[in-house]
Symmetry: C2
Subunit: 396 residues, 2 copies
Amino acid sequence: MRRMTARPANAHQARLLKLLRDSGPNSRAQLGDQVDLSRSKLAVEVDRLLETGLVVADGLAASRGGRRSHNIRLAPGLRFLGIDIGATSVDVAVTNAELEILGHINQPMDVREGPVAVFEQVLSMAAKLRASGLAEGFDGAGIGVPGPVRFPEGVPVAPPIMPGWDGFPVREALSQELGCPVMVDNDVNLMAMGEQHAGVARSVGDFLFVKIGTGIGCGIVVGGEVHRGTTGSAGDIGHIQAVPDGRPCACGNRGCLEAHFSGAALARDALEAAQQGLSAELATRLETNGVLTAVDVAAAAAAGDATSLDLIREGGTRVGQVIAGLVSFFNPGLVLIGGGVIGLGHTLLAAIRTQVYRQSLPLATGNLPIVLGELGPTAGVIGAARLISDHLFSPA
Amino acid sequence: MRRMTARPANAHQARLLKLLRDSGPNSRAQLGDQVDLSRSKLAVEVDRLLETGLVVADGLAASRGGRRSHNIRLAPGLRFLGIDIGATSVDVAVTNAELEILGHINQPMDVREGPVAVFEQVLSMAAKLRASGLAEGFDGAGIGVPGPVRFPEGVPVAPPIMPGWDGFPVREALSQELGCPVMVDNDVNLMAMGEQHAGVARSVGDFLFVKIGTGIGCGIVVGGEVHRGTTGSAGDIGHIQAVPDGRPCACGNRGCLEAHFSGAALARDALEAAQQGLSAELATRLETNGVLTAVDVAAAAAAGDATSLDLIREGGTRVGQVIAGLVSFFNPGLVLIGGGVIGLGHTLLAAIRTQVYRQSLPLATGNLPIVLGELGPTAGVIGAARLISDHLFSPA
DNA sequence: CCTTCTTTGTCCTGTCAGTGGAGAAAGTTG
DNA sequence: CAACTTTCTCCACTGACAGGACAAAGAAGG
């Protein structure tokens, strides 16, 4: 099969493509209700899109009292690749043009092995997805990396946890290997975009997506657009000071949020608690597995372990303090919490909420939902697919 | 004189008006270089604007080697009113269409006296400006108030320091009194807009304007647009926690930034230091004036008083801590410091810079200027004039 | 003074985007 | 089978806009 070559010729076509992506197949009449174009103009643009093959008309919909309408939908053969590179694992997924996940692979990986090794693994995962018959090829790929990105060029800059990637031309290299257009962004930004596409955040113009995983980051959406900042490091809240003269952090400062609460910090706290005999529950888990992770703390907490619950509550309070400041500053309409530690569940969320509602101004929190992301571990790959589809569904 | 009745008929005309406002008189050719329109189309739109009277062609410019050009400029009779309502004083200024200040009055006032009393004062100040011959009438007015504003309606919401204003229809009432269009915004947002119009911030898409006066607030500009947040309270950073379990704040919490550093907090600290005999300099000033304000601390510091210098440095460090967090989060291209306490001068700025550069990530601070605003006390009124001109220079 | 060149502004025509109405196509309902 | 609905197509008219030709007005040089 030939891959997508055409791009929308104008803003109208771009608008139509995104509409079809976000709300599925539509009749011409339904499209007309949503785009503020005359029926005639709309028909012209739809016809042109049909000619390019970007959309197809397949079959007639059931009548609703009159002439039956044609189903206009995005080309069913379109395939996007969503790649989410974490600190310790990679996710690769294929989606169709509506960004529905057709196949998804997760593999452990160490980002510090550098771009060459990671790319090799990503490419083999992509090949596996293709071999499974889900895609005959890829029309575009989005990729998220755990660090700041110079967005227009698609190049990581000064990434703390993946030093070998600094300046590596991710976009260009991956595009060459895959033979399709590629867009690169920070992983947390992509998770925010994923939630924006499919989750609660759909109808909210300004929101924050706080990812708590190995580290902590934040995706910022302003007026429906991701805010990346002047150097691409916006949302890097892991090194905001949460505790004056607190714990030393890998960044060289003290008291950084990440040093006090994150997947890594929680594991360390749990280990300490187990070794000091503060928690029998954690101690037995340590003995069984040899190590302790956030998952163990979650399980122990679920089993009622007081120490684990305290650790989670304390961590949630720390994160809540920082989020409270951001809420006062940014006044979002929604705060989403995501990332690995959402396994800590309601205890964590309650601690965060309590702290934010207590510390921010009533006007900013009065009608502010603070909820868990809906997409869980797929937010990143969906966001990545959305990133590249936004790009390809814009005029060239 | 008849007041401005016409509005630009389309986006091109709006663009041209703003261009003429921001860069002064231009020939048709110069305009053509900046707007990406054909000469013919441009000529048509300019002619239409001339017909409406919004712009005039007065005189020929000196030749630059060929036919002399006509000077196209905004109607010289246009007058905007910029009103900046602070906690303890009002500024009212008249500007021409290029937002140059033609006249400026500052008077003490207590915002807590409520909108009716304040409006009376504002209207008499406006009348005085008109009587002085600077304006025969006003084509529009912008007004800034020290609290959150529901921007589309122009109504203050839940303003902490001006409770009597909650829900008062400022826009509508003032528009009726003045007989011209009015736009309302938070005062700090307007100061940011003022600096964006006339100062360093002109060329920067994303920046923060931190106002340190009686309280502390922050104007946020994203992609050239002011970010007001979901409920209009964005930038309210005075109540971000700066010191865990710190001083009690009027808002009911503890350790708020404002409680530890602001014009009010500084005055209180100075008083305490004088009474405890820590500073002879401050003590004599207290004896002379009966009270101590930030101005006294500035003067004492300038005279070398160690206690005052310490107070300023400590305050700057507090503010710097908070700004450091915001810089990590928002990754601006510029941070401006403004408001009353800029009289504290370089000592304050140095303390802020030190703290921000130490605490934020190098990528975010690497090329980040932190400087004083250029407009000083006129930033607010210029921003207010710009707000209404932005409104009037947009298609109706 | 005259020719040539440069800059500015005007006029005109061809093209294309887009609207809105008329009406054809294809149904449902009674 | 008539009346009504909904969907889609066709067509003519309008207005936006580009780009070229050209006029106006001055500078520079012989």
